[in-house]
Amino acid sequence: MPESLYYFIQQLLNGLTVGSTYALIAIGYTMVYGIIGMINFAHGEIYMIGSYIAFIVIAALAMFGIESVPLLIFAAFVISMVVTSAYGYSIERVAYRPLRGGNRLIPLISAIGMSIFLQNLVRIAQGSRDIAMPSLITGGIDIGPQDAFHASLSYMQMIIFAVTLVSMVLLTLFISRSRMGRACRACAEDLKMTNLLGINTNGIIALTFVIGAALAAIAGVLLGMYYGVINPYIGFMAGLKAFTAAVLGGIGSIPGAVLGGLLLGVTEAITAGYFSTEYKDVVAFGLLILILLFRPSGILGRPEVEKV
């Protein structure tokens, strides 16, 4: 039955598209968790801010009469990454650094406060209604017969795959090859010891927040253009989903975050495609609870040994 096969392929493609952006956001969670062992609760809001900055940049450049689509998108990426990096850095400085070392719940609560603060800041500055943008990139290729039901892969989806892939490769190279990346891995292994060996661990922790924020901004730009609609509340759900993805793959592991993101995206798309769109969030969180029940360390995570 080719028709149902094409339907399945379509759901799979949609799922992988959304899943790869989940993966980008999830990396931010997993990197921060890997080094300081805390969840950056305000990470979802960074993604939302990334989307807003992209829309603002594109609207501004369009007003100046710049029509070239690649230039618009490139500018949106660069400026949005710069601004969200500043947000990531500031969140670390304000809500995490002064509180490090105490009770674990305290930075988490301050990050929740930060998340509420940022959401309402954007709501007050930009209004709470939906903002829509006409899609910059249209068209795509068809998979299957032209005259009957077929799956289609839009150019926007291809761009999402390509950008995600490039970001992953660059991040992997950075972590595994560069001096800073080595320092990051050392911090994840043993923060105190790394500090004793003369590495500026405060700088490295700030760096992980910045990298995470920049990746979340990439996801924000991509998903903002893919859906074409944003509002100040999108960060909450996206953050929750990305965290689910990070846990699914094993928190602390970067390949795990990617795997978890793709898996979660596909699961959601299949649920939405075959059962009901309303329940896709329920299925996503149900999956999280199931994973934690049977394999708390995630798919690729190492089981954590508690030390006294």
């Binding site: 601004v83 500043a86 947000y87 406060g113 500055a125 846990v247 999280l288 934690l292």
Partner: protein, 419 residues
């Protein structure tokens, strides 16, 4: 010293401009399908400039400020006699008696609006006390507490709608139902570490809300459920005309009907529930299980070494905390007469958590004080309504930085070695 601070000061001022420039300096404007930008206006530019200047000078003179802060005369210390006196059990009992007497007399000295507001405060006190068991005593961060509140409220509303049960039966069933949900959720997730638990419970709260929103055949979806029966006093109704086979309160007592009676009754009922909650929690705290909660929060490994089963102890805290949310939810549904999923969003969870944190985790008098502050302040600052949540988030951050132990930290029973 100033020269050394110049670079960080300039950097932080630039960061402030980067943070706010694009996001606040311009506003996206939707005109049909066209997207355009409008400037936010000179007042916003001034605000950004003032913020950047303030951060610049703050960082430039931070060492001077720190020294100034230290040389400032501190707050006058509470006299030792007063501290000693406040520890005397007789005085503490007197204080509590005075507080309770004031609370009972409140509806008779206040007007209708004041009583209504006080009822709302009491609902939050109950929720705060319930969450306090989970977060403050057992040290488990539960971000989906509003889910249990919703289960209680909807449990009563649905039972009343389909099986026609009264408030008192509903109260007990709602509490039991919420406890059951707490038990079922707690069972898989309580093996997790603190921050995992936070997110899973957050997901659970969202699942409950989404289900309530989408199971239209059962819960009427986003339209909510109306006509929930009001509480009765030993079968006496608080309405002008009693329904079939019932008697109304004013007929029974032989006074004229006044709608204020119901408001006062609801308030006193809420007060009763809060007092029961306080009593139960205080008893539990002195039982082995209460001691185990606190011990587990302090050191899980030591507890396991002493033969305490962490999962069972956590589960008990989770279940008992959830049941109080169920009671509060049932009362909320009965008071409002109408509920919809909109009353049970994450922000509600965050407010309850803020009450616990602001009051000082574990401290019951702190929770009561914080519930009063958190409910009354927004009512008083109506003109700041737009900035309410913004300030609320900011307060949570600043509170954690400056006073993580809360307004009135709990006095823990402890022994010290004297050397």
């Amino acid at each position: 010293m100033i020269r050394a601070n110049l670079k960080p000061a300039v950097i932080s001022a630039v960061v402030v401009v980067v943070l706010s420039g694009l996001l606040m300096g311009v506003r996206l404007d939707q005109d049909g399908t066209n997207l355009s930008l409008v400037g936010a206006g000179p007042d916003v530019y001034w605000k950004i400039a003032i913020a950047a200047t303030f951060i610049f000078f703050y960082n430039l003179f931070r060492d001077h400020l720190a020294r100034l802060w230290q040389s400032m005369p501190g707050m006058p210390k509470t006299p030792t006699q007063l501290v000693e006196a406040s520890k005397k059990p007789v005085l503490r009992q007197l204080f509590w008696c005075f507080l309770i007497a004031l609370a009972i007399l409140w509806p008779f000295i206040s007007n209708r609006g004041g009583t209504d507001l006080a009822t709302l405060v009491l609902i939050y006190v109950m929720l705060g006390l319930g969450l306090n068991i989970v977060v403050g005593l057992a040290g488990l961060l539960d971000l989906g507490y509003v889910g249990f509140y919703a289960v209680g409220a909807y449990g009563y509303a649905l039972l009343a709608m389909y099986f026609d049960i009264g408030f008192w039966t509903g109260l007990i069933s709602a509490g039991l139902l919420a406890a059951l949900f707490g038990f079922l959720l707690g069972f898989p997730v309580l093996r997790l570490r603190g921050d995992y638990l936070a997110i899973v419970t957050l997901g659970f709260g969202e699942i409950i809300r989404i289900l309530l929103n989408n199971m239209t055949w059962l819960t009427n979806g986003p339209n909510g459920i109306g006509g929930i029966p009001k509480p009765t006093l030993f079968g006496l109704e608080f309405s002008r005309k009693a329904s079939e086979g019932m008697q109304s309160f004013h007929d029974f007592v032989g006074i004229d009907y006044s709608s204020e009676h119901r408001v006062m009754f609801l308030y006193l009922l809420a007060l009763l529930l809060v007092l029961i909650t306080l009593f139960v929690i205080n008893r539990l705290l002195r039982m082995p299980i209460g001691r185990a909660w606190e011990a587990l929060r302090e050191d899980e490994i030591a507890c396991r070494a002493l033969g305490i089963n962490p999962t069972a102890v956590k589960l008990s805290a989770f279940t008992i905390g959830a049941s109080f949310a169920g009671f509060a939810g049932c009362f909320f549904a009965a008071r409002q007469g109408f509920i919809s999923p909109e009353s049970f969003t994450f922000i509600e969870s965050a407010i309850i958590l803020a009450i616990v944190v602001l009051g000082g985790m574990g401290s019951q008098i702190g929770v009561i004080l914080a519930a009063i502050i958190m409910t009354i302040l927004p009512e008083m600052a109506r003109e700041f309504n737009e900035y309410r949540m913004l300030l609320f988030g900011l307060m949570m951050v600043l509170m954690m930085i400056w006073r993580p132990q809360g307004l009135l930290p709990m006095n823990r029973p402890h022994l010290e070695l004297r050397t």
